[in-house]
Structure formats: C-alpha cells, structure tokens
C-alpha cells in the first residue's frame, strides 16, 4: 500500500473513530452531575460496605471476580516469562554475567536516597486503597519499582546477595493465594464466593470495608512480586553474556 493510500485510510478511520467518540460522549450526563447514578453508587458502597473509595469498592467487592481473573492473568504472565527466560539462562556460564554499564554518581546518589521513600509510598498506597485513591495494583508497581531503583543506583551486588528472586516469588504466590482464600472464605462464611464476610467497621478508618482492604493488600503483594519478577528476568537477560 502506497504512502498516500495509507494516509487516506488513516484519516478516514480516525474521522470515523472521532465521530463515534463524540456520539458516545454527547449521550453522557453533564460533567459533575450531583444526583447521577455514579453518585448513588458511591453512597451505596459507602453505607453498605463502609468503603470511602468507591472505585476500590467496585474493584474488590462488586466486581471481585473480575479482579481475581485479572490478578491470575498477571500471575500466569510473570510465571510464563520466568519459565521461558530462565531456561535460556542455564545455557550461559555464571562468569559471563557482567556488572552492567558504569553508573553516574548523580544517579547513584539520587537512587539510593529515593529507595526508602519509594517503598514507604508504595506501602501507603497499598494499605489505604479503601480510603482514597490507590490500592493494590498501583502500590504494588510502586513497590516493585523500588527494586528497580536499587538496581539503577548500582546496588545490584547487594540485590544479588539477598537473592530477591526467591522473595518476590514467595510474595507473588502469597498474594495470589490470599485472594483465592478470601474468595473461599466468602463461600464458607457467607454462602457465596468473594462475599464480604468480615466486619465492615466505620468508613474512613484504616480497618474498615471488610474484605476489600484484605484483598487490596493481597493484590499489592501479588503485583509487587509479579512485576519485580518480570523485570528481574528481563534485567538478567540484558546483563547475560554482556562480557562476551
């Protein structure tokens, strides 16, 4: 296909897409309608589940089964990349692993200083998803990026000494298992899988919203482990055989 034909096709498709988007958006309620269905949903969740953040009320309660599926997708993706990439790693001698490129002093200092605040931020975002913006997924990726920052700061030697691979694998498995166990718990204690069977507490308190906060922390562990595992395997691949 010639360049002109491709441009014409792109313009036609994009114009059609824009028309559809405008059509869809024009049917919505005006922005910030105080009495719309979203507002009713927020208040229902706040009253019935004592969860201040309705988004996580939907993610971990009303649509908890969807989240279970999404969590397992990430679990399997991390597992698959680890299995595939580790198989290749065995072929290369350990001595051929290089230390990576030299690291600038500024990056070293900034990285080292930022690792601890980043981990605190990640734990905060995981732990307060039921109170405000955040939750297991977002906080989990922040926690995993702490590991990457340690690598970027040149602490790769320290990372290898503590062997985080075993740790991230355990975190991933524990998070996935916690979610499944809470789902079974709903079946046992409340008659339906993922039914919210814990005491709800008071909305706005750290310990509130029943199983929502538990599931959020479980997903946080799982995502931390999965993202850290995928990125560690990718890093290993990049460093493998660099000294050849």
């Amino acid at each position: 296909m010639s360049r002109r034909a491709r441009t014409a096709l792109a313009v036609i498709v994009l114009a059609g897409l824009a028309a559809l988007a405008v059509w869809a958006v024009s049917g919505l309620l005006p922005f910030g309608t105080p009495s719309g269905p979203a507002n009713r949903l927020v208040r229902t969740l706040d009253h019935k589940r004592q969860v201040a953040n309705a988004v996580n009320g939907i993610t971990y309660d009303m649509r908890g089964v969807d989240t279970l599926g999404e969590e397992l997708i990430l679990f399997v993706a991390a597992l698959g990349s680890a299995v595939l990439l580790r198989h290749r790693r065995d072929d290369v001698e350990e001595e051929e692993r290089a230390a990576g490129p030299p690291i600038a002093d500024a990056l070293r200092v900034a990285g080292t200083v930022l690792v601890a605040p980043l981990i605190v931020l990640g734990a905060y975002v995981v732990g307060t998803g039921h109170l405000g913006p955040g939750g297991g997924f977002q906080g989990g990726v922040i926690l995993a990026s702490g590991l990457l920052l340690a690598y970027a700061a040149g602490q790769v030697v320290a990372l290898e000494r503590v062997e985080p691979t075993a740790l991230v694998e355990v975190a991933e498995a524990t998070g996935a298992m916690a979610y499944a166990l809470v789902a079974v718990g709903g079946l046992v204690f409340a008659g339906a899988a993922l039914e919210n069977f814990l005491p709800f507490g008071t909305s706005g308190q750290l310990l509130s919203s029943g199983t929502i906060v538990v599931l959020s922390v479980g997903v946080g562990l799982e995502v931390t482990g999965a993202v850290a595992l995928i990125l560690t395997e990718f890093l290993d691949q990049t460093l493998l055989g660099q000294g050849k």
Binding site: N56, P133, L231, T238
Partner: protein, 82 residues
Amino acid sequence: MTVLQVVALLGVAAGGTATVLVRDPVRQALVSGGFGLQLAILFFVFQAPDVAMSEIVVATVAVPLMVLLALAKLARDEDPSE
C-alpha cells in the same frame, strides 16, 4: 468544561501525535512515557485519581522499562562486536 481540562486534552493530543512521529524506538519508549504522564494529568483533571495512578505506574515504570530492556538485548544480539 474548564480551561484546565481543555489544556489537558490538548496536551494529550500533542503527546500522542509526538509518540507516533518519533521513529527511533529508544526515544519513542521515553516519549511514550511522557505521553502516559500527560494521560495521567488528563485523568486527574477529570477527577479519576485512581485511573491516573494506574496510568502513571504502567506508562512511566512498567512499559518503557520493558521496551528499553528488550531493545538493549536486541541491539547487543545484532552487534556481536560489543
């Protein structure tokens, strides 16, 4: 619609176009990270902070890093002199 929302929308339009127009894959990975940040601002301005946070962590941490690591590996495999 407020001025802030219009500015955020225009920023996303410019960022998306820039991501497409950059041809070098390494630069494209970084520009797409900046585009993700613009999207996060858009979500935040439209009062969806949860989505904004997800967008930040995915677009500025996970995706560029995976792309860059894959590109580094590919570049070395193609050039055995290194």
